[in-house]
Symmetry: C2
Subunit: 269 residues, 2 copies
């Protein structure tokens, strides 16, 4: 038996989320079924982040123990041949025994996209939250920075979720304003609009934490709350005092860091 690390990207729109569920098709189930067919026996995969229904990934990581002897590129090709086009294996590498996608991770980075402009592009609605009223980016940037550090994030999580502790450490929390025109893709931003990307890196996240933060940042950008109110929200630790939970479609698990040196890009060609 050997341990493999799989780098994954998916369009989460039509999945019920990462985790296997009786109610619909999950990424975990589709991936386990594909791996089991190639292995010729049952394979269980562990995911670094348990993304919810409608949430995407550009750099999700999964680990599994397998007996199959295919090399990385061959296994990648075999998996992509049977997986749906909305789920792609970008890379397969062997790891030492004991490597676990979730428990070995140092940090995870999520990105949340907001399209801010009068009309939403028809190419953006699967991947971004359309906010038609004007957002003051500078206010959102100021507020986002206040979340860096170790805090009790009770105000920013889904109510009723049962966890050991609500303390989490955010390493980086920034809002960027990006232009998306002329970037090779059918434009997701129309004239008069911009894409705001909230990028957050943490050693761990509570359920719905990023989406609750984004809902609050939008309240701040719209002028309904002040940037400094974020501190008070953290202190009060009450979910109902913060902003609403932003829609799943805007969220993407961008990357998972294991303290490894990044692989040279050319190696994937």
């Amino acid at each position: 038996m050997r341990t493999i690390k799989l780098l994954l990207a998916y369009d989460g729109t039509e999945f019920v989320g990462w985790q296997r569920q009786p109610t619909g098709i999950s990424i975990q189930a589709v991936l386990e079924d594909a791996l089991s067919r190639i292995e010729g026996g049952p394979v269980t995969v562990a995911g670094a982040g348990r993304t919810d229904a409608g949430v995407h990934a550009a750099g999700q990581v999964a680990s599994a123990r397998v007996a199959l002897t295919l090399d990385g590129p061959t296994l990648r090709r075999a998996l992509n041949a049977v997986l749906p086009r909305t789920l792609r294996v970008l890379d397969v590498e062997e790891r030492p025994d004991g490597f676990h996608a979730r428990f070995s991770a140092h940090s995870k980075t999520y990105e949340y996209r907001i399209v801010n402009g009068p009309v939403a592009s028809p190419f953006s609605h699967r991947f971004a939250w359309h906010v038609p009223y004007r957002l003051e980016v500078a206010r959102m940037q100021e507020a986002a920075r206040l979340l860096e550090g170790t805090h009790d994030f009770s105000a920013f999580r889904s109510t009723g979720a049962d966890v050991h502790t609500t303390m989490r450490t955010i390493l980086r929390s920034v809002v960027e304003c990006r232009a998306a025109r002329g970037a090779g893709l059918v434009d997701i931003v129309l004239p008069g609009g911009t894409v705001l990307v909230y990028e957050v890196t943490a050693t761990g996240f509570l359920r719905h934490m990023v989406r609750a933060i984004v809902g609050t940042l939008v309240e701040i950008g719209a002028g309904r709350m002040a940037p400094a109110d974020l501190r008070a929200l953290l202190d009060r630790r009450r979910r109902d005092a913060a902003g609403p939970t932003a829609p799943a479609a805007g969220l993407c698990l961008a990357r998972v860091d294991y303290g490894e040196a990044p692989a040279p890009v050319a190696a994937q060609r």
Copy 2:
């Protein structure tokens, strides 16, 4: 009665194309139904380009004769409130009587996107053709330029289409290599890959002409044909001598030119 010009964008994946058809939902039908509800009577729209099933638009133009008196921004809001999210009205303006989206157009520009790399991003398959083998961009660029000018495009059209003449004038025909990472969108290009965009402006197009040209450019990029072979293909005027028709998903009607000065971007905010 007054004449209006509508600027449209759509994700064509789930439409049967621009033109009203008994077999499924067309952009024309959805737009006419929405306009008729607001008008309180039947409205017919004319489109600048009759895009096929699966083909997208970032700047399609439609014209219609209406009695309704709503101003442009109000009509845009009313239409977007009833249209599906995959079809958006970007702008509505009044035009002099006699303006017709198709017959008044000076030229149309189409863009065709190819994702060239070992693995297709799960975010690209609706909007691009994935070519996994290496393409020599310089060869494709050389070939694309040879199509500029007035030629008989019989070799690059859908067989059996009945048209008055197969002569068409291409004003601009270029292949660009674009990087799409960090552009605000969930990346459509994975490490080791690039986006090639074929951009073509012409006073008129034959049915499937752009997709037939792209299929041939890919043959040239893959080394199966030489750039100079394009000239011979034009001269032979036989569809079966050229490359295959590229998939619809990569094609997008980018803009239609009426010889008008472009509107300032700020006006749409």
